[in-house]
């Protein structure tokens, strides 16, 4: 049945397909044509990327199948025996191509076990002509640590020119309590719902919904706890080294927390604030080298494309060295993340947000969070304008890096307190800011890459001169390429900045701040350029 079903329903446990003919009218009969039994393990990325693309990947030992939204097999192949494979662990073919475009750099993790019985039926008229095809799926899903869930669905495949039997069967199912499956809803949806799993939640961008009248401290508590939940969600994947995105997301949550602490540095007691700022800085730094290695290793293909083939062996040697370095650094990082110091930090931070914060007597903490956020927004925006206007064509790179950090601070601030303002306006401002950030971010990345490659910090054996020369030639070629690109990106900065500093964006900032305008003058930054 390669075509899409005309209709699909979730069924109650008592539904019997064999009762249908007598309910439709005289002369009809039903014929079971085929039954398939499958017991498969379903895999998806941590953030359910396959599901978001209407795909489901299942395996039985090393036999992998990729299903479409309605459960039809799109492609199948033998695959790796690894617990959590990546797309590159599969051999060339349609399955590998599909996984590459959907899962990208993420590992495919076991998400649930499912037993499936698939029964195919034909509904025949008095001439024994097929007038409707039916497929009943009975599935028992088992999620780790949860009770098995059973559910059943019926898929109807209409035949051209025979709309009446399709309509009649749809009506009968509806009358017997069957619920139509929404268009585009994947066949696993009932199992996920029953198990309380929300893939959308896993994919959602960071967002906190704050009450409009909350105080400054309540804002800290809500945002801080949401970030801590993000940290806790990604930490196990970092420690297990499932894929590089866990560390990436873990670090974002840490950076956001540090930015939140910096935002509150004048309000919180110095001792507490310094403790958390130092400790979060320490734990972030503990992950720096591993992340750097990840970034370069992920760029293997891109770097290869920048160099002529004769320089590739040198690059391969460099990456080999980088992998060894990562392995070593990863052990160190894991030890730190599992350390008492790290455990204490997270439990202290949790306790601080949950209990200690409300005991603090700081009057500023009891004022309106919206006013505070508006004041900080104005301050940070103006700081970007001031710093950006100082950057000319001859300015040192460090000035652009400083501006990048300011832009990032503003971005985090907007994301923390988005729900306190007009969400559409904030999103619009984020869109403008993102454009500037992309330019500054690429400039910074190119700069960091050149420094890193130039420093030649990889444990490539230095006693082999020939090998060293090969690596040096490859890195030299890369640095030249990156420097050319950086000059181009630098050239694009002015236009990007002028756009962000223009009247439109200034007006947008004013609109967002709105009646929170009475911000005390002493807190404002330098005037706009």
């Amino acid at each position: 049945m390669p075509q899409s079903p005309s209709a699909a329903f979730t069924l109650g446990p008592d539904f019997n397909v064999h009762d249908l003919p007598s309910q439709i009218g005289t002369g009809y009969s039903i014929l079971e044509t085929e039954t398939e039994q499958r017991d498969e393990e379903y895999l998806d990325t941590f953030d359910w990327r396959l599901l978001a693309c209407g795909r489901a990947l299942a395996r039985n030992q090393r036999r992998y199948r990729l299903y479409s939204t309605n459960g039809d097999i799109l492609c199948q192949d033998r695959g790796p025996a690894k617990l959590r494979p990546f797309w590159w662990d599969f051999s060339d073919g349609p399955l590998r191509d599909e996984l590459k475009s959907t899962a990208d750099i993420r590992a495919l993790c076991p998400q649930m076990q499912m037993q499936q019985q698939r029964q195919h039926y034909n509904l025949l008229n008095a001439d024994e002509k097929i007038v409707l095809r039916l497929r009943r799926d009975t599935m028992t899903a088992v999620f780790p640590g949860k009770e098995p869930e059973q559910f059943s669905s019926l898929h109807l495949y209409g035949i051209r020119g025979y709309s009446r039997p399709l309509q009649a069967v749809s009506r009968i199912i509806g009358q017997s309590g069957g619920l139509p499956v929404a268009e585009g809803e994947i066949f696993l949806e009932p199992a996920l719902k029953a198990a309380g799993i929300s893939p959308e939640k896993m994919r959602a961008k960071f967002a906190v919904s704050l009450r409009p009248d909350i105080t400054v401290f309540e804002g800290l508590k809500d945002v801080g706890q949401a970030l801590l939940a993000d940290i806790s969600m990604h930490q196990p994947g970092v420690i297990e080294d499932i894929d590089s995105e866990f560390l990436h997301d873990f670090r974002i949550a840490l950076r956001r927390t540090r930015s939140l602490l910096s935002l509150y540095s004048r309000i919180l007691p110095i001792s507490a604030c310094d403790y958390f700022r130092n400790e979060f800085k320490w734990i972030t730094q503990a992950t720096n080298t591993v992340r750097d290695c990840d970034v370069y290793l992920l760029m293997t293909e891109e770097y290869q494309a920048m160099l002529p083939a004769r320089l590739h062996p040198g690059l391969i040697s460099y990456f080999e060295g980088l992998r060894i370095l990562r392995k070593k650094e990863f052990k160190l990082m894991r030890r730190r993340l599992n350390s008492q110091r790290a455990v204490r930090l997270f439990s202290d931070w949790q306790a601080f947000l949950q209990e200690e914060l409300q005991l603090l007597q700081e009057p500023k903490g009891k004022t309106s969070c919206r006013l505070f956020a508006a004041k900080m927004l104005k301050k940070r925006y103006k700081r970007i304008l001031a710093k950006g206007s100082e950057c000319g064509p001859e300015s040192p790179d460090t000035m652009l890096h400083a501006l990048r950090i300011q832009a990032k601070k503003l971005r985090y601030l907007l994301e923390f307190f988005r729900s306190l303002f007009s969400v559409d306006d904030v999103d619009q401002l984020i869109k403008h800011l993102k454009k500037l950030q992309n330019n500054l971010g690429e400039f910074n990345d190119l700069s960091v890459q050149q420094t890193m490659l130039g420093s030649f910090q990889s444990p490539v054996k230095t006693d082999c001169v020939e090998r060293m020369l090969r690596v040096a030639a490859a890195l030299g070629g890369l640095i030249t390429h990156l420097a050319d690109r950086q000059a181009l990106v630098r050239g694009e900065f002015e236009e990007n900045f002028l756009q962000f500093a223009g009247k439109d964006v200034q007006g947008l900032v004013k609109t967002i701040i709105g009646d929170s305008e009475h911000v005390s003058r002493e807190d404002e930054g330098p005037p706009a350029a």
Partner: protein, 249 residues
């Protein structure tokens, strides 16, 4: 879309069996196929267990309102436009049209089907009328089953004459020997004499009980037994027809 008519002015030469079986073979190869049952007797429709809807008739067909009367067969990629008893009057209806348009009516009518189908097969009634002229104009190939007997050869001669009258390209005619019984000396000698003409395809369909039994099973031979001798012969025949049509391009 390629339009292939299965045509002979003589009845009982195996037109419908050919149309049904090559339609099934073509659809099994993954091509989207529509079989139009133009014969008011509706034998092709019967084989597929399909009845025309009550509201369908020749007037609706000629008005181009036939899309909603097309029905899916039991086989993937294969649909059928069922015959209707009123199709026996198609000639009268065509005759009533203006002289210029009446010969091209069918070609124009079938054109929109190219959006949905790659192959259009016409199972034609046995006659030599205005409808036959329409079928010749509308088709990329006219497949003509010929029993290796005198009468059947006469029917082929008549078709050639009609092509001459219409100034149609005779290369469109793809004749093949049908219902062949090798043990009959007449069949053997006719085949020997005529098979070498380029008009004739190399494939021939033997007289087989399983083809006759289609009336009982109401299934194409390939759907009963995928690799039966009859199914293999029809596959060979269709492959040769398809090769000729695509080569003509």
């Amino acid at each position: 879309m390629k339009t292939v008519a299965i045509y002979s002015s003589k009845g009982g030469v195996g037109k419908t069996a050919t149309a049904v079986n090559i339609a099934y073979t073509a659809a099994s190869s993954g091509k989207r196929v529509l079989l139009c049952d133009m014969d008011s007797q509706g034998a092709a429709s019967y084989y597929f267990r399909i009845k025309a809807k009550k509201k369908f008739n020749s007037q609706k067909l000629l008005a181009g309102e036939y899309g909603k009367y097309i029905r899916g067969t039991d086989f993937e990629n294969l649909d059928l436009l069922p015959a209707h008893f009123s199709f026996r009057n198609l000639d009268l209806a065509l005759n009533s049209l203006g002289e210029k348009e009446r010969r091209m009516t069918l070609a124009k009518l079938l054109k929109p089907l190219s959006a949905d189908y790659e192959i259009l097969l016409l199972d034609c009634p046995p006659n030599l009328t205005l409808l036959s002229e329409n079928i010749i104009e509308a088709s990329d190939a006219v497949v003509c089953p010929v029993i290796p007997t005198t009468l059947s050869l006469i029917a082929l001669e008549q078709l050639l004459k009609l092509f001459g009258k219409l100034e149609a390209d005779k290369k469109k005619i793809l004749a093949f020997f049908s219902m062949v019984e090798r043990r009959k000396s007449m069949h053997a000698s006719v085949i020997e004499k005529y098979q070498r003409y380029p008009l004739f395809l190399k494939s021939a369909i033997p007289f087989l009980a399983e083809i006759e039994k289609m009336g009982l099973s109401r299934l194409p031979v390939g759907a009963v037994t995928r690799h039966s001798p009859a199914a293999m012969e029809y596959t060979r025949l269709w492959n040769e027809i398809w090769k000729k049509i695509t080569k003509q391009q």
